[in-house]
């Protein structure tokens, strides 16, 4: 059997039905074999988008997303997307073509050392030296990408390896990973200590991160919080790990989070951190405080414990779901009503502010998202880009019931949302009865505009909400906050692009709104359409994030 065919068979055996790729000289054998493979190929318009499709696919389906690019420039175009998946712990596999084995190291045409280039932000990578290794490497790659703390794995395959013929094929080739053994079950002694600590505390707070979602522990988190009456805040990545309409929900923490959420975190005497790495953005300026409160840190990656916060009272390494189940096995029997009362006071003291820019005639994004929460389905998926659009949607769109919110939280990669949503829709089988929303700004939209072709071509049922302020709003605001008014530099897109004409060029229905009411009406119309739509909302350039 041809190695290229063997590779595709191995992928299919791992439940891969779609790959997102772009061909090239070093991939000719694989593309030849793709012709009669049952795997569907989505021809992305720029390799830079391919890992984002795979990421959206993975986050939507819970499977491993696969992307494909040729050697040299094709491979280097994947770099940002791979780093994005690494920082958000998303299981993807990137397959790259490489020049023939005897040409490696000769600076051949379209040769780039992609395993070297991606080394800092892959969970693992392979350069395939011989075709017989393919089944083992694919088995290992899927195992590594999807277990423990998920992450991207890169497989670089020289063209002449793809062309080799293998006589005896064993798909069940055993993995050989003596150094890889993720800890799943939490240490029982530490769990006992944690329960004791929670019992002793007066003001406990759960700080839930993306790890809760990655381990599908939302139900267990809800049960644990309800059973013991412990309030919950989430990180940006943790949005969706706890229902936002719940009385125990205390908002989103971090530098772009709610004032009240950060204040609540600041008053807690015990922080139960679950599946979060306490990043600089996630804890804002509370590092000192967190170094002084009791901290129970639950994470599957031992390296995250005591990395950002030195003082971890009780570390528990393992899977969030498994550990929450252990914590649920015992009743804590404590009453935190005084603390919950105090939290209500804080919430009242620092209410959400919706009023800015109401006097002008443009869309108020905060009110828009609050109202959007009322008219969208309870299982809608919303994928935000990076910038003001991300923060508005994160804070003001209510993730309730089975709704999901995804974004590039760790790396903050602009241009993520359009390909990621398309990947998510494709993974779900482009259902007519499910709502998918892309949220982006005019800056991020233009970074992935070319991918509209895929959306139109496949008639993907998704709605792109585009906030147009002709500015790079978040950086502009940072310039304002850092240097003062009129210190804007390089953040004015300064070009009134007609986005509806772009949509029209792709045959995508578009809407335009100048007020919040018009915006909501447009959404109501758009969700009736089975297929892609673009909803352009004009926002005041000075409408700020919080």
């Amino acid at each position: 059997m041809l190695a290229s065919k063997l590779l595709l068979n191995c992928l299919a055996n791992h439940d891969v039905d779609t790959i997102f790729g772009y061909p090239g000289g070093a991939l000719l054998p694989i593309y030849e074999s793709l012709r009669d493979s049952k795997i569907k190929h989505v021809l992305v318009r720029n390799e830079q988008a391919a890992p984002h499709y795979a990421s959206g696919y993975a986050r939507s389906s819970g499977k491993v997303g696969v992307c494909l690019a040729t050697s040299g420039p094709g491979a280097t175009n994947l770099v940002t997307g791979i780093a994005t998946a690494y920082l958000d712990s998303i299981p993807i596999i990137a397959i790259t073509g490489q020049v023939n084995r005897d040409l490696i190291g000769s600076d051949a045409f379209q040769e780039a050392d992609i395993t070297g280039a991606t080394e800092p932000f892959v969970k693992h990578s392979y350069l395939v030296k011989k075709a017989e290794d393919i089944p083992r490497i694919i088995n290992e790659a899927f195992h590594i990408a999807s277990t423990g703390r998920p992450g991207p794995v890169l497989i670089d395959i020289p063209r002449d390896v793809q062309e080799e013929t293998i006589k005896k094929v064993n798909y069940k080739e055993k993995t050989n990973l003596p150094g890889y053994k993720p800890t799943i079950v939490g240490h029982t002694g530490q769990i006992r200590r944690a329960l004791r600590k929670i019992k002793q505390s007066k003001k406990p707070l759960i700080y839930a991160g993306g790890g809760v979602k990655l381990s599908n522990a939302e139900k267990e988190l809800l049960e644990f919080a309800e059973k013991n009456g412990i309030p919950v805040i989430t990180t940006l990545m943790g949005i969706g790990s706890f229902p936002e309409e719940h009385p125990l929900f205390c908002g989103v923490a971090g530098s772009h989070g709610f004032e009240h959420s950060n204040r609540i975190l600041n008053e807690a005497d015990l922080c139960i951190c679950i599946g979060a790495r306490m990043s600089d953005r996630g804890i804002f300026n509370l590092q000192h405080h967190l170094n002084n409160v009791d901290l129970i840190h639950i994470d599957i990656d031992p390296a995250e414990i005591s990395k950002n916060i030195n003082q971890t009272e009780i570390p528990i390494v393992g899977d969030a779901k498994t550990i929450l189940l252990s914590l649920l096995s015992q009743k804590i029997n404590n009453n935190y009503s005084a603390w919950l009362k105090r939290i209500e006071e804080i919430k009242e003291e620092y209410p959400l502010i919706f009023s800015e820019c109401l006097e002008n005639n443009k869309v108020n994004p905060k009110i828009f998202f609050k109202e959007l929460s009322k008219i969208t389905d309870n299982d809608a998926t919303i994928i935000a880009d990076v910038g003001l659009n991300q923060i508005w949607s994160a804070l003001y769109y209510d993730i309730i019931k089975d709704r999901r919110y995804f974004t590039s939280g760790g790396l903050g990669t602009m241009g993520y949302s359009i390909p990621a949503t398309a990947g998510a829709v494709i993974a779900a089988g482009n259902p007519a009865d499910k709502q998918f929303f892309t949220v982006c700004g005019d800056g991020s939209f233009q970074m992935s505009m070319a991918e509209l072709a895929i959306i139109a071509q496949n008639n993907l049922n998704m709605n792109i909400i585009l906030f147009n302020n002709t500015k790079l709003g978040m950086v502009r605001q940072l310039q304002h906050d850092t240097y003062g008014k009129d210190h804007y530099s390089g953040t004015d897109l300064n070009f009134d692009l007609d986005f509806s004409k772009i949509a029209e060029a792709y045959g995508i229905t578009s809407f335009e709104a100048n007020t919040t009411e018009e915006a909501l009406d447009a959404v109501k119309e758009a969700i009736k359409i089975n297929g892609p739509t673009l909803i352009q909302l004009h926002v005041d350039e000075d409408f700020i994030r919080i």
């Binding site: 395993t115 003596p178 390296a303």
Partner: protein, 176 residues
């Protein structure tokens, strides 16, 4: 941060890794991008062909040392990381020193070498090459004694070592 700097000391790790292409680059890259200081690094084979042993000497406080171990374990190719603690392990370094020597000074240098159990491995009219194996403190003391004669160049292998007694880093334990 000040107190952290003061707590910094040199520590030594023995790391068993899969003998795969690129593993040294992964480890060197990890230290570089996380800003850990490698004092010395040596690589060699083990009794198992598929496994190599890397000995790394680093400087850092307790938190950094803990992070280094955890980050090393995150690398898929790393099988086991063991600290070679002072007192519980043998740590040695091989050093060659080329020193200026004439008829007047040669005897003095030979005498110092005898005191330190260093060897003379090359003799030339105007120079000697000295070889010494020992723990870092001994090597440093030897350097101090030789320096006044005029060191032309030297090479230090970096520390390598093993745990004392029957204890061994047995990677097959890890597989189970």
């Amino acid at each position: 941060m000040e107190h952290l700097v003061n707590n910094e000391e040199t520590r030594c790790f023995s790391v068993l890794v899969m003998n795969n292409a690129g593993v040294l680059s992964r480890i060197a890259g990890l230290f570089a991008r996380r800003g850990y200081n490698i004092d010395a690094l040596t690589v060699g084979p083990t009794e198992d062909d598929s496994v190599s042993r890397i000995t790394i000497t680093v400087k850092g406080d307790d938190q950094i040392i803990e992070q280094i171990q955890k980050q090393l374990y995150k690398l898929i190719d790393v099988i086991k990381v063991v600290e070679l603690e002072k007192g519980k392990s043998i740590r040695r370094e091989l050093v060659y020193i080329k020193v200026k020597a004439d008829n007047k000074s040669r005897a003095n240098i030979v005498e110092i070498c005898n005191l330190f159990r260093a060897k003379i491995v090359d003799v030339a009219p105007k120079s000697l090459v000295l070889e010494i194996v020992g723990p870092r403190s001994k090597v440093d003391a030897f350097f101090n004694m030789i320096k006044p004669f005029g060191i032309i160049e030297f090479v230090r292998s970096g520390e390598t070592g093993l745990q004392r007694g029957l204890e061994a880093i047995n990677f097959s334990n890890q597989i189970e």
